[in-house]
């Protein structure tokens, strides 16, 4: 297997690496269920979580993942960081890297933040915890672990993803993972919430939710990101959105008895998902949260493990097309 130096996105991983991380995550689930939730795997490693965007679950998940493997974990959020005092992203990155952490976990609103920093921080492993509308690889690895537990393998299955596909980094990462792992992504959204050139991902595109339901093995609801949509007129009202694109019991029934429900959180009950569906036995949403910690343990262990010399690859020097395209979505 190619060694992992950074985790920028699903785009950089091959199938073998994805399956390695998911299987390793599977092994870590058990540690999280022990009475004493601690293993010494990452003793002596330092991990800095650098979050320029607000996040509770991803940050907590990374923090627990590091701490349960005995790493020293520091959290920095933009509101308390030197960024507020005018420091540039590059300076913040170099300053933190000078303190010799093994891993920097970064969330930022700009696509390609980790890829950009990697050129300047040669000795630090970087993890993308969400970069704008580009990628959110650990969420997708988490989902793949949930799917592994539910189905064994996602190959040949149909995942119907509903909501703001254009602004969703989870959607983009899933579209990339689907090609590599052989599952079908069916995306459902009004035209205003689909990115341009959606066809290039090789997914099925629907504007009518009801038409997309039959044959779905999982319905994956995305949060309506009101903070990203305040100025646009993507849809007339929350109520109308719920009518057309919300998941309720009737729709879930139409999808078939084995169909499962997923959501990356946080949920807006009554907007994209009704309460009875969110709390139903079909919902794997809390399992996704549990698996999130295990998968992040796997990512941190994989980045800290192995020969350092093997990992010295050439730097990229420019952003990937995928990141450029994602940033374009927002402009």
């Amino acid at each position: 297997m190619r060694p992992l130096k950074h985790l920028f996105g699903i785009a950089d991983l091959d199938r073998e690496q994805i399956e390695y991380l998911v299987n390793l995550g599977d092994s870590f689930i058990e540690i999280n269920r022990r009475p004493l939730k601690k293993a010494p795997t990452l003793r002596g490693k330092t991990i800095i979580n650098l979050f320029f965007e607000n996040s509770t679950r991803t940050r907590t998940s990374f923090e627990l993942a590091g701490k349960r493997l005995s790493a020293d974990v520091i959290n920095i959020s933009a509101s308390t960081s030197a960024t507020k005092k005018g420091e540039t992203l590059l300076d913040t990155g170099q300053t933190l890297a000078a303190m010799q952490p093994h891993v920097l976990v970064i969330r930022h609103s700009l696509a390609g933040t980790c890829e950009l920093l990697a050129d300047y921080l040669p000795n630090t492993a970087l993890v993308n915890a969400g970069d704008g509308a580009h990628e959110h690889p650990t969420q997708v690895l988490t989902d793949l672990l949930t799917l592994k537990q539910a189905w064994g393998s996602p190959e040949g299955k149909v995942i119907t993803m509903v909501g703001d596909i254009a602004h969703s980094r989870v959607a983009r990462s899933h579209l990339l993972a689907a090609k590599k792992l052989g599952y079908t992504m069916r995306v459902v959204a009004p035209k205003t919430l689909l990115p341009s050139q959606i066809e290039r991902y090789g997914c099925e595109v629907y504007h009518d939710f009801d038409a997309a339901l039959p044959g779905s093995d999982a319905v994956y609801m995305l949060r309506v990101q009101t903070e990203r949509l305040t100025d646009s007129c993507a849809f007339p009202s929350i109520r109308e959105y719920h009518e057309a694109y919300g998941l309720n019991v009737k729709r879930l029934r139409a999808a078939g008895s084995d169909c499962i429900v997923m959501h990356p959180g946080p949920m807006n009950r009554g907007v994209e998902i009704s309460t009875d569906v969110a709390d139903s036995a079909k919902s794997h949403i809390l399992r996704q949260v549990e698996h999130g910690v295990a998968v992040r343990m796997a990512v941190l262990a994989a980045l800290c493990g192995g020969h350092a010399e093997e990992k010295k690859e050439g730097s990229r020097k420019q952003l990937s097309d995928e990141a450029m395209q994602a940033q374009g979505t927002l402009l």
Partner: protein, 169 residues
């Protein structure tokens, strides 16, 4: 790669009988180390239960407790550790197939302590092949064989159990 059978099936069976014979208590707590140690623990469990002992079983995968993460990446297929009894205050028998450097045993002891504080831990191994790098010794050893550093000594469980030596390179 050359393979030599060091101990035949008969000898291995006798060694297992001897190991089970060394365990004397009404309730016995056996913890096997994946994967060979878990097989040996199963074999000892059957013998102890025939004697009328009550046996509590657990298994450990020590992958996350290894001391060599900096040289090798974690193995992707890690079996689940399960200690279905409370280890606190118990006299535990730790079981492995082959005792070599002692690093696996150190890691296993660390892992047991993450579940609780046992009254004691004793080590029972099917084969001691020498080459210790840590001050660890088995309380009960089924078989002894001083192997060279370039060899592996393995328990073969396909069909009748034997102990084989393989030359690496």
């Amino acid at each position: 790669m050359t393979e030599t059978v060091l101990f035949d099936h008969q000898t291995v069976e006798e060694a297992l009988n001897q190991m089970a014979g060394a365990m004397t208590a009404a309730e016995i707590f056996l913890v096997g180390i994946h994967s060979g140690g878990a097989c040996v623990a199963d074999a000892i469990q059957r013998r102890l239960e025939q004697k009328g002992c009550t046996v509590f079983r657990g298994n450990l995968d020590i992958s996350f407790y290894r001391d060599d993460l900096d040289t090798i990446a974690p193995h992707p297929l890690v079996r689940t550790s399960e200690l279905p009894f409370d280890v606190a205050g118990k006299d535990i028998w730790l079981i492995d197939d082959v005792l070599y450097t002692g690093r696996t045993i150190r890691a296993a002891m660390d892992e047991i302590f993450d579940y609780g504080r046992p009254a004691s831990i004793r080590l029972a191994v099917l084969v001691d092949r020498g080459g210790r790098q840590l001050p660890i010794a088995a309380e009960t050893t089924g078989l002894n064989f001083e192997a060279l550093a370039g060899c592996t000594v393995e328990l073969v469980t396909d069909g009748a159990w034997t102990i084989e030596q393989r030359q690496v390179k």
